[in-house]
């Protein structure tokens, strides 16, 4: 992963306050010395994970700053990979983020092809039927439009009769479906795409009037120098705030508890806050790491 030097510099004092002497190394890597392996938690891990020594975490890397491809086109970077790496430090295993279609994350977790899913996935009752969620972040939905807002979209109702592009399988799809009832005659033309980036291509090229994103990635898109010329937020409102959850196989309560406890360690040690601050998403921090707290 690539961390900008300025970001690293601003992060360092916080790490030092947390009793860390990781000067020069990247802050949220497994070798951060403030984090030591918790053998009790390690013992909670499933046998095959401990044997493998690698925790496979599925993510859809089209959702900066949560997870996306770095400049080299091959490494997945973001708040989630950093948090995952820190998780691995506490649990005493390596962590590998696997590029997975958003819609196949839960089935893969279920079948054991992935150990965990961590992809800005909102903990919803429907999903909670398939997997357990360890909640680690809070975010609502924002409406992204082209800069200058040529389609005149300010709230969900304005999308009636227009094209809205969203990533397949996300809560935004459900949100739009529920919003259809508020359209009088022409419904919202909801088009879904395999990745969030593909949805953004539609917006950038004018084939969609809006894209629905969680606030953190939407905020990044309208502030990043590379993209802010193309996008803006329709309004400052956050729709249907919810909690992100790490998806865990319901059959592996030990893994779930280990992840929950390890995340609590990160919160306690301040690593969690540092990582969120580094990616500029500290507004979405949770106070406590809970399980299945989604509505």
């Amino acid at each position: 992963m690539l961390v900008r030097r300025t970001a690293l510099a601003s992060l360092l004092p916080a790490l030092l306050l947390a009793g860390c002497a990781a000067a020069g190394s990247e802050p949220d890597q497994q070798d951060a010395p403030s984090l030591s392996v918790d053998e009790d938690l390690h013992a909670l891990l499933p046998a095959d994970v401990r044997e493998r020594g690698v925790l496979r975490i599925g993510t859809d890397p089209s959702y900066a700053p949560m997870s996306s491809y770095g400049e080299d086109g091959r490494t997945i970077v973001g708040m989630e990979p950093d948090l995952g790496d820190a998780l691995g430090d506490v649990l005493g295993v390596d962590v590998r983020f696997v590029d997975t279609d958003f819609t196949t994350i839960l089935p893969d977790v279920d079948t054991g092809r992935l150990d965990l899913g961590m992809s800005a996935m909102t903990d919803t009752p429907e999903r909670a039927e398939q997997v357990d969620f360890v909640n680690y972040f809070s975010a609502g939905t924002s409406i992204l439009v082209q800069r200058g807002n040529p389609a005149g979209v300010f709230e969900l109702e304005d999308l009636c009769g227009k094209v809205a592009a969203v990533e397949k399988g996300t809560t935004q799809v459900d949100l739009l479906d529920r919003a259809q009832g508020r359209c009088d005659d022409e419904p919202i033309d909801v088009r879904t795409y395999g990745t969030n980036s593909d949805a953004l291509v539609q917006l950038r090229t004018g084939r969609a009037a809006a894209v629905l994103n969680d606030l953190p990635p939407a905020a990044l898109l309208v502030t990043d120098p590379d993209t802010k010329a193309n996008y803006q937020l329709a309004s400052t409102a956050q729709l249907e705030p919810g909690l992100y959850g790490v998806a865990v196989d319901k059959d592996l309560p030990g893994l779930r508890d280990a992840v929950q406890a390890a995340l609590e360690v990160l919160v306690d040690r301040g690593v969690y806050a540092d990582v969120l601050a580094h990616w500029g998403v500290e507004d979405g921090a949770v106070q406590d790491v809970t399980v299945n707290s989604g509505r």
């Binding site: 890397p61 089209s62 080299d72 091959r74 990745t195 980036s197 593909d198």
Partner: protein
């Protein structure tokens, strides 16, 4: 002169060498600059070309390659449809040669697609490939490509990123033919070289011009310096240094014969003191010119300093002929000169020494010529050849100066007095102080033996001061003894050149308590002759104090009547030359009679010098002359001898027979 030609040649040669060094030295940076700029231009062209290629390939990747690879997975190879659409979009570019190679690799370096169907290559170890696989595209110039039949290409390696998420799929290698770009770069470089060459040539020319100009200026400066160091700025003649060098060369030359001549102007100091320095300078220039004009071109005329000139006559060994030649030169120098509307003549003394007969070093030559010259000053001809036997060490002016200085300090000088009488009554009215030198080796010396040397140096001032003080002291003593005589002291024109002298006189009068009316100062006619402001002022001041000023030796020099009229002169003393033949010469009688009338007309008294017979004294008394002075009455003697002589005959001295 041969000497200056040789020096000029040497200077020219030195200047050329210096210029060549300058030219070579400035050529180095100019060429280095040229090479650096040309190479820089060429390199910049290649850098521009590769960076352009990088952008071209980036566009090719985005617009041609990636769209065909949507959803591709290189680890599985390309599907038929992916390969088909890739071929469709690249075939033309490959076919018409703009793209020499287009290949796709997975991250392990295996070929997934090749424009020519060759999928055998594995690139994994290529560092450029590794960099590209990690997101760092590169462009390099390959001189001959892979196949020798192909020309130079630019090879670009970059990632293929066919998805919006930014996920890289593999590496794209494109080789763009370079020939056309190379031609363009070459053309641009050529144009730059031409511009540069013109610019640098101009720069070099300017540098060269500056160098040439500087060298020339330096050369001229050096030449001027050298000339200045070896020539007298006033006359333009060689100076003492150069004269010595030329003489040394002449003396050292095998079988070199010749003569070294020293020339000294008589009474030059007087001209300088009375007419001012600019007149003295002009006189020296005229003399220098005359000397040069009356000699051969092989001879060297130099100004050695002051009023002294040196002449080198190389090859001259005939003594009589040399004396004859120099006598002619002396006549030429002695021709009348008009300075500041005043006409005067200047006499020069010539001292000759032949080498190698009479001396074989320049030092000795100069010393001997100097001795001969001083002999010439006192002799009748003014041109004297050095003869060993005739050499008298004391005639060496420097030795004499040294001795005289000591004589003044050690009181070796003494004064004798000659009385001046009223011709009508025979009473002594005044005594003239005459200085003698009691030389420890040479006995009692008359003024002629040392006064010229004193006048030529600063010594005249202490000498006059000594005489003045002694004379006034004596005057006070004979006044005490009941003799109310005035005293007359001779002063040099040089003394009258500064107002300081007035103070000296005033102080000495005060110190000896002699009333100023008792003091006569006798100055030579030459000193009065010219209208020199300072002399006139000094005379006026002296007259104001109450001192009487006499003009000595009147009639042999130049005196304008207007100048006589303009000054407060109390007395005119007629030179002994007119008195000596008074009995025989009708003309002298006429002159003396009219001078007496003239002097009376101007309100001056008249004294006749050199009165030796009673007849002359009687004639003078009849002619109205006021005073007489001469051997008829008394030779110069200590004043104590005058007193008894005076006492013996009451107030009037008896006539004594002529010597």
């Amino acid at each position: 002169m041969a000497w200056s030609q040789r020096a000029a040649r040497r200077r020219v040669h030195k200047g050329t060498t210096l210029l060549a060094i300058y030219a070579a030295a400035s050529l180095v940076p100019v060429l280095a600059l040229g090479v650096t700029l040309v190479r820089g231009y060429h390199d910049a062209g290649i850098t521009r070309a590769t960076s352009q290629a990088l952008h071209q390939v980036a566009v090719i990747e985005r617009m041609v390659v990636s769209p065909a690879l949507r959803d591709a997975d290189f680890s599985q190879g390309l599907t038929d449809s992916e390969e088909y659409s890739l071929r469709l979009s690249t075939d033309l570019a490959v076919y018409d040669g703009g793209v020499a190679r287009l290949r796709l690799y997975d991250f392990d370096g295996h070929v997934v697609f090749a424009e020519n169907g060759d999928t055998g290559t594995v690139l994994a170890d290529d560092p450029a490939f590794q960099r590209a696989a990690n997101g760092k595209p590169s462009a390099t110039l390959l001189d001959s490509g892979d196949a020798s039949s192909r020309g130079a290409v630019i090879r670009v390696l970059a990632q293929v990123v066919p998805e919006a998420t930014g996920r890289a799929l593999g590496v794209l290698e494109v080789q763009l033919t370079y020939d056309k770009i190379a031609d363009q770069i070459a053309a641009e470089t050529r144009a730059a070289i031409i511009r540069l060459a013109i610019g640098l040539a101009a720069l070099y020319a300017v540098l060269g011009l500056i160098s040439w100009w500087t060298t020339r200026a330096l050369g001229r400066h050096a030449a001027a310096k050298e000339h200045q160091a070896l020539h007298d700025p006033l006359t333009g003649l060689p100076n003492r240094d150069l004269f010595r060098r030329v003489s040394e060369r002449a003396v050292e030359r095998a079988q070199g014969r010749g003569a070294l001549v020293l020339v000294d102007l008589d009474r030059f100091k007087e001209v300088n003191d009375t007419l001012g320095h600019h007149a003295g300078d002009e006189l020296l220039q005229v003399v220098g010119r005359r000397l040069q004009e009356s000699l051969r071109t092989d001879d060297t005329v130099a100004r050695l300093g002051g009023d002294e000139f040196g002449i080198l006559l190389p090859g001259e060994s005939d003594r009589a002929a040399t004396v004859e030649l120099l006598t002619r030169v002396r006549e030429a120098v002695g021709a009348e000169i008009t300075l500041d509307d005043s006409t005067l003549t200047v006499d020069a003394s010539f001292g000759i020494c032949f080498f190698p007969d009479d001396a074989d070093t320049v030092e000795d030559l100069l010393k001997n010529a100097d001795a001969a010259m001083y002999q010439g000053k006192h002799g009748p001809t003014g041109v004297v050849v050095y003869e060993e036997s005739a050499a008298r060490p004391a005639t060496d002016s420097l030795v004499l100066q040294r001795e005289l200085r000591r004589a003044i300090a050690d009181d070796q000088l003494l004064l004798q007095y000659q009385p001046k009488l009223h011709l009508s009554t025979g009473q002594v009215s005044c005594v003239e102080a005459l200085v003698r030198w009691q030389h420890p080796e040479r006995g009692l010396l008359p003024p002629i033996d040392f006064l010229p040397v004193a006048e030529r140096s600063e010594l005249i001032e202490p000498l006059t001061r000594w005489v003045l003080r002694q004379a006034l002291t004596d005057c006070a003593r004979w006044a005490e003894a009941g003799r109310p005589w005035s005293v007359a002291v001779n002063v040099s024109a040089r003394n009258l050149a500064t107002l300081e002298f007035v103070e000296v006189v005033r102080e000495t009068l005060a110190a000896t308590a002699v009333p100023p009316e008792r003091l006569y100062l006798e100055i030579t006619e030459t000193a009065v002759a010219f209208d020199a402001g300072q002399v006139r002022e000094v005379v006026e001041r002296l007259a104001e104090i109450g001192i009487s000023v006499s003009v000595d030796d009147f009639g042999v020099g130049y005196t304008g009547l207007s100048q006589l009229r303009a000054m407060s002169i109390r007395e005119i003393k007629i030179d002994r030359a007119f008195i000596a033949n008074l009995e025989e010469s009708q003309q002298d009688r006429a002159i003396v009679a009219s001078v007496i009338d003239l002097a009376h007309g101007l309100g001056c008294t008249v004294t006749a010098e050199g009165v030796e017979t009673q007849q002359v004294a009687d004639w003078l008394a009849d002619a109205g002359c006021d005073h007489g002075q001469g051997y008829l009455w008394l030779r110069p003697s200590p004043w104590q001898e005058i007193v008894p002589a005076g006492e013996a005959s009451g107030t009037a001295l008896p006539a004594s027979p002529a010597p």
